[in-house]
């Protein structure tokens, strides 16, 4: 018990004294996940709009697939991306394996189904009179899409925040395709896994507290958005 309390106190000390290694890992985590979330949003939101407003064969299957991919195991993403980016893989020539870029790719794949699925659900649940009114008022295709997104913007914000939370807390793929290289691809989750296995509990706890703090901020943002939406 004392070990845990001592560990906690040391962790607090590392945080309040702005330990460079702790903060370097934390900022890298935020940078990689923020980039991945932005890229995934730019890809996913237009796809969700397309799925919601276009009819084509196989649409139902794609939507079912997207929902299934919510529960995609992260180690499986890690394995697939690893095989794609490894020297013998089809994208090996890019030399991305064990780089922050590879980790961003992994996180993008992880959160794309979440953003597509939740945005699509919000779009199809929308009052059809809203859509009809926008069309009736003379909107062109892009004005229609922009107006629809404006109407569900709070759901989109909450979805993106949720995707950020999911990506930053992921560990399996990050280790496999980032390699957990100190000062280069080491992020909060991979660092906690490594330091704990090495018995460096205080450092792990400091990183854990920061990760928890980020999760709290994400949760706070989502709650605020929900309150604003209501």
């Amino acid at each position: 018990m004392n070990e845990i309390i001592d560990g906690f106190l040391t962790a607090i000390h590392l945080i309040v004294t702005f330990d460079p290694e702790v903060y370097e890992v934390a900022f890298r985590s935020i940078y990689i996940t923020f980039s991945a979330t932005v890229i995934a949003s730019v890809i996913s939101i237009p796809i969700a709009l397309f799925l919601a407003f276009r009819t084509f064969p196989g649409k139902r299957t794609i939507i079912n697939l997207v929902h299934t991919l919510y529960a995609l195991p992260t180690v499986l993403i890690g394995l697939v991306v690893f095989l794609m980016l490894s020297r013998q893989g089809p994208f090996g020539f890019l030399g991305l394996l064990f780089t922050p870029g590879a980790m961003i790719i992994g996180q993008v794949i992880l959160v794309i189904p979440i953003i597509i699925g939740l945005t699509y659900s919000a779009l199809v649940a929308m009052d059809p009179v809203i859509k009809d009114t926008i069309i009736s008022l003379g909107a062109n295709y892009f004005q229609f899409m922009a107006s629809i997104l404006k109407e569900i913007r709070f759901v989109v914000y909450a979805t993106v925040a949720m995707a950020f939370g999911r990506a930053i807390s992921e560990v399996g793929a990050a280790i496999m395709i980032g390699g957990n290289i100190r000062g280069y691809t080491r992020v909060l989750t991979t660092s906690i896994a490594l330091e704990t296995s090495m018995g460096n509990i205080e450092f792990s706890m400091a990183l854990g507290i920061i990760l928890l703090f980020i999760a709290l901020i994400v949760n706070f943002v989502m709650t605020s958005i929900r309150r604003e939406a209501d």
Binding site: D127, D132, L137
Partner: protein, 360 residues
């Protein structure tokens, strides 16, 4: 202004609009009345190009609009305004809601402001500009929807049951507003309602919609005094509707045999025609004695027994078994004065000209 030719619309196996034809004149209020589920909303949606017809044409000032390209249809929609039954209120202020359609038209900020201010004045919502539109009352939300429509200055305005679910006072305000829009914006208005009295109040012309088509179109007088089918008669409030056969005819007055009773009706239909006929309750006179009844100048005289008396507001609806059950209206004061009660023998009289003969 607008011509509809042979319009059909099916949703899967279900045919909602069946070969509908209509001509709507510039500047008129054309009211589509009919019970729920007869295709009133669908026809408005087809005109607004929100749905695609299965067959037929819609011509706006001579141009067939249903086959235009997406871009051309969008331009047509900008000439048409639509007020939905349950208006959509967007997130944001009343001002932003009213300005919504103008934002699609690349107008200057000053022009948007000028038009929105004017529209809010027209619908009597000045001072509400900054209020969150979602916090408005039902009637105010409808007024926002009206303002959002007129602010784009459309040539044709479609209104899908615009006052359903509203209280009578708010309905009155919105009905005044509809006349105001017609008179000041010079727009042609097509309005659907299931309320025949609203149809009477608002319509320059009326179309009765049943089974996915207009079964009768005409002026108020044409439709409300001369329904052409049993269904129309029933919907517009005739309580006495019967089947019969013309057994004699002389000088435009026919004798109709109906349920063992014979009545006289003004019609030029030939002897032997199977017809339906109807009679408004207010066109029937009730006599309590045979002596007074004998002095009535009316062509039709029937003797019967009071079957039932039902209070409807300040009136009593009295059903009399004359071989056929004839229903008429008397004030409750009159009913009390003459001690009207079931089982009493009474006499009824009505003119041959009050009998409306229809195709069966």
């Amino acid at each position: 202004m607008l011509r509809i030719e042979g319009l059909c619309k099916s949703f899967g196996e279900k045919e909602v609009i069946r070969g509908l034809d209509a001509e709507i004149r510039k500047g008129e209020i054309f009211v589509i009345i009919g019970p729920s589920g007869q295709g009133k909303s669908t026809i408005l949606r087809l005109i607004d190009l929100l749905d695609t017809p299965t067959d037929g044409k819609i011509l706006l000032e001579g141009t067939e609009i249903t086959t235009l390209s997406d871009r051309e249809q969008q331009q047509v929609r900008r000439r048409i305004g639509m007020v939905f039954q349950d208006p959509a209120i967007f997130r944001g202020s009343v001002y932003e809601n009213v300005a919504y359609g103008l934002r699609f038209r690349d107008l200057s900020k000053e022009e948007v402001h000028r038009r929105v201010t004017l529209a809010l004045h027209d619908v009597r919502l000045e001072g509400f500009e900054e209020q969150d539109a979602r916090t408005l009352s039902g009637g105010e939300k409808h007024r926002v929807a009206f303002a959002r429509t007129i602010v784009t200055q459309p040539d044709l305005i479609l209104m899908d049951e615009p006052t359903s679910d509203l209280d009578p006072v708010t309905t009155g305000i919105l009905e005044d507003l509809i006349f105001f829009i017609r008179d000041t914006h010079h727009a042609t208005i097509i309005l659907s309602t299931h309320d025949m009295y609203q149809g009477q109040r608002l319509g320059d012309r009326i179309a009765v919609m049943m089974g996915g088509t207009f079964i009768q179109t005409g002026t108020l007088k044409e439709v409300f005094t001369a329904p052409n089918t049993r269904e129309v008669a029933y919907f517009i409030g005739f309580e006495n509707i019967f089947d019969g056969e013309i057994i004699r005819s002389e000088g435009g007055v026919a004798t109709v045999a109906s349920g063992g009773t014979e009545i006289l009706a003004v019609t030029d239909r030939p002897v032997g025609s199977s017809i339906s006929w109807c009679l408004r309750t207010e066109d029937i006179r009730l006599h309590m004695s045979e002596e007074r009844h004998g002095r009535s100048p009316m062509a039709n005289h029937l003797n019967g027994v009071v079957k039932s008396i039902e209070m409807v507001g300040p009136q009593n609806h009295v059903t009399i078994d004359c071989g056929i059950d004839i229903t008429l209206t008397v004030s409750w004061r009159f009913a009390e004065r003459v001690h009207l009660a079931p089982g009493m023998t009474v006499w009824v009289a009505f003119n041959a000209g009050s009998v409306q003969v229809m195709e069966r």
